[in-house]
């Protein structure tokens, strides 16, 4: 790897990191405004233009708060838990492709931090499974019964739904034939009969539904947010956290929301492909503009799913814990298995 390659890699990492951090902060604002509009009120509208600087105010407030650690708690683990959460939330972004490769000054740039890994889908699933560690450690290290219970409930919920998530993705992988996310996105380019885009949702609708529900459970978002609901366990695993550590958990949760939205758009909705526009000859010549167009396509799709996450949060009542586990093991898992088996049979027959 020459120096120029290293510089390009560092620039890509910095861009993704900044998109993540600023995006997560603005998703907080988006959630407040959207939940307010659903509830017939306006959200924050005093800081900045119509409240746009509220995210910075929130982050500043969290940074300036006192850092309180329970006296009997394990200080090392108490500090380590949010670090694990945020590190995992950021690290998974390395496999998300942002656009087709483009050339600047003779040098071809692939806008993915870790491009063309043959096992990138597996890496995605494995890294998102590591998120459980952060939560369990937080629950344990707080030295509080309720935090522990909240952390354990959260962890149990996450590992139950990871199974269905993986199986749904296997069904999709059988159709496409590869674990390489870049190739999965490439397989969704173009259209059928010139009208319908070749998105995976039309190929695997049940798989998408299972993945959607599992994504809600993975990110601890409503209606699966029992572990952190206020009337339930105060704050669940993050009760004993203040200041920047709480800010990191907060950021990691919204980062996971953005990640799941981006992954859903990438795997089932065609990723960065803009269905009918991007094959125009104008864009074949100006590939930097095409890259920007594709990046904006991914951005719009991700934004729609983030809106969807927040919309669902304020529409559906919370699941009780036993209902949640019942759904995960007795409904989602058999459905995902059935989906995989039927997909395998159909794919084998069509060969």
């Amino acid at each position: 790897m020459s120096l120029i390659d290293v510089i390009i890699l560092v620039v890509k990492i910095l861009v993704v990191l900044h998109i993540f951090l600023i995006g997560a902060a603005y998703v907080v604002l988006l959630e407040r405004k959207e939940s307010a509009w659903i509830q017939n009120r306006v959200g924050p509208n005093r800081t900045g233009w119509r409240g746009s600087l509220q995210s910075f105010a929130d982050v500043l407030k969290l940074v300036l708060k006192e850092d309180i650690v329970p006296s009997q708690a394990n200080y090392a683990f108490h500090t380590l838990a949010p670090i694990i959460s945020i590190a995992i939330a950021v690290a998974v972004w390395m496999v998300v492709p942002f656009a087709d490769p483009f050339t600047i000054g003779g040098k071809e740039i692939v806008p993915t931090v870790a491009p063309d890994l043959n096992v990138s889908l597996l890496l995605l699933l494995a890294l998102s499974s590591l998120g459980v560690y952060g939560i369990t450690l937080a629950g344990w290290a707080s030295n509080s019964k309720y935090s522990l219970l909240g952390g354990l409930r959260s962890a149990a919920q996450m590992i139950s739904y990871e199974l269905s998530m993986g199986l749904a993705l296997i069904g999709m992988m059988l159709c496409v034939g590869t674990l390489n996310i870049t190739q999965i996105v490439d397989a969704q380019a173009g259209t059928w009969l010139g009208i319908l885009p070749r998105w995976n949702i039309f190929v695997q609708p049940l798989g998408f539904l299972i993945f959607l529900v599992a994504a809600f459970a993975e990110t601890n978002r409503a209606p699966f947010d029992l572990a952190e609901a206020e009337p339930e366990l105060v704050g669940g695993f993050h009760t004993e956290y203040t200041g920047l550590k709480f800010g990191l958990f907060f950021l990691a949760e919204y980062g996971n929301v953005i990640l799941m939205s981006a992954v859903m758009s990438t795997l089932f909705f065609g990723g960065y492909h803009f269905p009918w526009v991007e094959n125009l000859p104008f864009f074949k010549e100006h590939d930097v503009l095409r890259a920007l167009l594709q990046f904006s396509a991914l951005f719009i799709k991700t934004l729609f799913f983030i809106f969807f996450f927040i919309w669902v949060r304020w529409s559906i009542p919370r699941f009780r814990y036993d209902q949640l586990m019942n759904l995960g093991w007795r409904v989602m898992f058999p459905l995902a298995l059935a989906n995989t088996v039927i997909t395998a049979i159909v794919v084998a027959l069509l060969k």
């Binding site: 509009w37 017939n40 306006v42 919309w311 669902v312 529409s315």
Partner: protein, 170 residues
């Protein structure tokens, strides 16, 4: 005597579509989306202020006629105040109204806005105005003297009208 059997309502069995839960989710989400386009109920304070009606008990003020304050410094309001917020000092004058308060102070940090002083006053000299915006930067600023308490009678017509209609019947 015949006993009456009452049949308690048994819950209906859920239909297939209801058990699926997804159509119900879609209905719920449609409702929430519709709410986003309904008018908002937020009052944009301070651009949109709330103007109270006549029966509202704001801060107590001294009624000021063209000859000065109506108050004769009898001290009844000071005695009846449950929070001991009012301090009155009477003095003599050669005008037609011989008594007047040389010192009249209300500690707004103690005042509980109950309206007893207004009820007990024989001269209707102290009334509860509509003012609810009280902000102090120092606790010393909260002791209102006569300068801050005197309000011309023309501005208190709503309250005086309310008192005349509802409270002064006895």
């Amino acid at each position: 005597m015949a006993t009456k059997t009452v049949k308690t309502g048994t819950p209906a069995r859920l239909t297939f579509w209801e058990k699926l839960y997804l159509p119900e989710i879609a209905r719920g989400m449609g409702l929430t989306l519709k709410q986003m386009f309904q008018p908002k109920f937020t009052r944009e304070y301070p651009e949109e202020r709330y103007e109270p009606v006549g029966s509202y008990r704001g801060r107590p003020v001294l009624v000021q006629e063209d000859y000065g304050e109506r108050c004769v410094a009898c001290g009844l309001c000071s005695r009846v105040c449950p929070a001991l917020a009012i301090e009155v000092q009477a003095a003599e004058t050669t005008k037609e109204k011989e008594r007047y308060p040389s010192l009249f102070e209300i500690n707004m940090l103690r005042c509980i806005f109950c309206g007893f002083c207004e009820e007990v006053c024989p001269e209707e000299a102290i009334v509860m105005s509509k003012d609810y915006e009280l902000v102090f930067e120092h606790p010393e600023d909260a002791i209102f003297g006569k300068d801050k308490l005197l309000v011309p009678v023309s501005k208190l017509q709503d309250r005086l009208e309310f008192l005349r209609q509802y409270k002064n019947q006895r």
